[in-house]
Subunit: 472 residues, 2 copies
């Protein structure tokens, strides 16, 4: 422990109201209810008193938790409390709903109070016309900054970064840096490192503020700076930015243009929600709900997004069904085949989904690369064979006993092994192939893999049954 | 831009070797190949020259990318380069494989060079006996710190935190804080904020280093500190810690014991990989591969983990098949029913998975709480009805035309609507119910939902067909 020894001041703990964000990480339903009831009854003062001590992120959550038709009234009652920061923290769809009700000038004022990256996030989702109107209403300086950021591709480092950075030339000493920090007003609100640049304005190192604080004034920064640093190209995809921050445990990083010049900085607080989104979106993509699966998304939009994938799945289900239709004769004579076939297909689907999920995550986190693809293939085949054999023997024996038909059991068991192998192979081959073609494997792998396991399942089971004369 | 105007030093950019981590976020296969070949040929010097400039996180990745039987040789060749930091960055299973080959004293020396949280991560995965041996070999101070951390539950804040914190009493002024930072040697390696504590050692505020740097020496810290802060209870689950950091965009946070006393701090770099893991594990849990789905996991362990879920799925598949068996008579007479039934069951499964994925993510990110559960239910039912109707009409019409049997088409379409509603309802009811009982909805929801959609799909389609006299 390194805290000071001489903590002896007589003050008592008297700060319950300091820690309002700590009582519950979820806003309690009763609390939400009380606020909404107060607004409903026109008791604005009570509502404001309840909400005032909350962190902007909690105020944003509160507004999200209100029903759509309650939100406008709530925001009106909380005028002043719903600050630009609250809007910056808010879910995109909920915010859009609120911004739609405002004048461009109001939106422009809000954007003007935010850092560039938050202002861009606010403005980038507006319709083209609204966007233009808001930009025209902004101060020239802020407007230029936002327009420049909007010039970078969506979801790129350029949109994420702040243009305000704290940069010092490499020939300065620590004392000069401290004086500069003290005397310069236009520094970013939050910064944790100072970037050291050369004459060409290329970053050559970084200096943590703790190092600056703890180093004698006369030491040159070039002696204490970290030369190793992760430079983020301005057009880098935000997913890669997030991986960088995670891999190298960065707190902030310099963003450079094509010529390697420092143009901005990204801080970790802008990146944590991207890490969470990007890691969490795989489950949504694999399930076929798009990359958001946001419960605040307008219902019509959700219906359309999901229907798109359901219709594609319908197509593949028809393909699988057409395999079954080849064996109608056998099924007509021996309906037990129809009872058992969904088990083979379904179990293949389950095994395929297992492999697929692992492969997609391993690709997303750069654990599965060209260097170890072959090894991963072998690994999945081994697993598929082991589990296929176990399940095949299990269900094969069970079927032979229950139906008193060893031949049927053998067919069932064999089909199970075959389909498990197809599942293991498909589960890794499909995502790796899509990845090589630079298609996000999470987006469409599941459809391919399920088709493979359905078709293989039905075909191997019914085909083997027909071949050995079951149902003839 | 706020960087200094007078950048005029004549130095040229001369730092290509500073940025080795930037050329590629993935280690290129050719590079990995070259290193491994060099080791293989006994050309240790080339291997070391290639790897030396890499960031510890990249060295860790390199070792992970090598095949299991190449790793030991590689690590030997890179002795000294494979630093404690490299081991801290390494995949758990790969690290375990390497630590197993070392003497307890070696492991103890490595742990002694790491911060408490990294040392704990290294030691907590060892077998009980090895753990004891390593602890005995450690320096008493380090050992006490690690043992205390191991006393907290796994995956709790207590295991994540560093015990070294920078804490100052609230009656100090800025100048005294700066002098303290300058003169105290035992401060954490990285810290971004100073915690202000009262006489009872309770945190009462935080001060960003940038604020300290930019404030005149005579201002009291109590005037410039942020009073609002997120205090992490020492037994809080790491998933909740990660959500806190994300929600409030924290860079560091104070950890407090039951009495509210400051006992440590967690910094964002310790949390980013948890945010990523926790968000990414839902896809693995839903797919039934456990919470790791790690491609470095020993094959036998993977086989066992996946088999567990496959056997459970087999049970539910048999339940669904037994529904089909009730209608063998109808299927025997009209085999087309067997052709179409997988479509109804499968499409229900797809729709259920969509709803489930959205619900699981919304629960994990605290977007879906008691306050809006009812609304979310209504939303999913609306979506299920809309998509069920569309798909029902589509496939019903198609079936009626293809098989020349409007009655069959009507049965198919109706079953489709029914199963979509079951999917929508099950897809949200199951995870929400599990969550209320404090069971992670990602772990077992998928099994329940698929069972619901399979059984409903088969029963509604075959039952309706039987009721209207198809196949009789």
């Amino acid at each position: 422990m390194s805290e000071s020894e001489n903590i002896a001041a007589p003050e008592l703990d008297e700060a319950p109201e300091n820690n309002v964000t700590d009582e519950e990480s979820r806003l309690r339903p009763e609390f939400v209810e009380r606020v909404l009831d107060a607004v409903d009854e026109g008791d604005v003062e009570t509502a404001r008193k309840l909400v005032e001590p909350l962190h902007p992120a909690d105020v944003a959550d509160l507004i999200e938790l209100a029903a759509r038709d309650e939100r406008e009234g709530l925001v009106k009652a909380l005028a002043g409390i719903v600050s630009p920061d609250v809007l910056a923290e808010m879910n995109d769809y909920v915010r859009e709903g609120l911004l739609d009700e405002m004048e461009p000038q109001q939106v422009a004022d809000i954007a003007g109070q935010l850092e560039t990256d938050d202002a861009v996030a606010l403005i980038e989702d507006l319709d083209r016309d609204d966007q233009q109107a808001v930009l025209r209403a902004m101060e020239p300086d802020d407007r230029a900054a936002v327009e420049e950021a909007l010039g970078y591709p969506e979801e790129s480092a350029g949109r994420l970064m702040q243009r305000d950075v704290c940069a010092v030339p490499e020939h300065w000493n620590v004392g000069k840096v401290i004086d500069y920090l003290r005397s310069t007003r236009e520094l970013p609100d939050d910064f944790w490192e100072v970037f050291v640049v050369n004459a060409a304005h290329h970053p050559v190192g970084t200096c943590k503020l703790s190092t600056i604080l703890r180093t004698p004034r006369n030491r040159p920064v070039s002696e204490i700076m970290h030369r190793e640093q992760s430079l983020i190209p301005v057009d880098m995809d935000q997913e890669d930015v997030a991986l960088r921050f995670q891999k190298y445990a960065l707190v902030s990083a310099a963003v450079v243009d094509d010529e390697g010049r420092l143009v901005g900085m990204i801080t970790v607080d802008d990146v944590v929600h991207i890490i969470q989104e990007e890691a969490g979106e795989d489950v949504l993509l694999l399930a076929g709900v798009g990359d958001e699966g946001d419960i605040n998304e307008p219902v019509q939009l959700t219906v359309r997004r999901r229907l798109f994938w359901l219709v594609i799945n319908l197509g593949t289900a028809i393909v699988a069904a057409s395999v079954v239709s080849l064996f109608q004769g056998e099924i007509g004579k021996y309906a037990v085949l129809a009872v058992l076939m969904p088990i083979v297909a379904g179990m293949g689907g389950n095994a395929g989904t297992q492999t697929l999920a692992v492969a997609v995550r391993a690709l997303a986190t750069n654990q599965l690369t060209e260097s170890n693809t072959l090894r991963a293939f072998g690994r999945e085949l081994k697993i598929a064979l082991a589990n296929g054999m176990t399940l095949g023997v299990l269900i094969g024996t069970g079927v032979a006993l229950v139906f008193g038909n060893p031949l049927l059991g053998a067919v069932m068991g064999t089909a199970m092994v075959i389909n498990n192998l197809a599942a293991g192979l498909g589960g890794i081959l499909v995502p790796v192939t899509l990845d090589r073609f630079r298609i996000d494997p999470a987006v469409s792998s599941a459809v391919f893999v399920t088709t493979i396991t359905d078709v293989t399942g039905f075909f191997s089971f019914l085909g083997l049954a027909a071949a050995v004369g079951l149902g003839s």
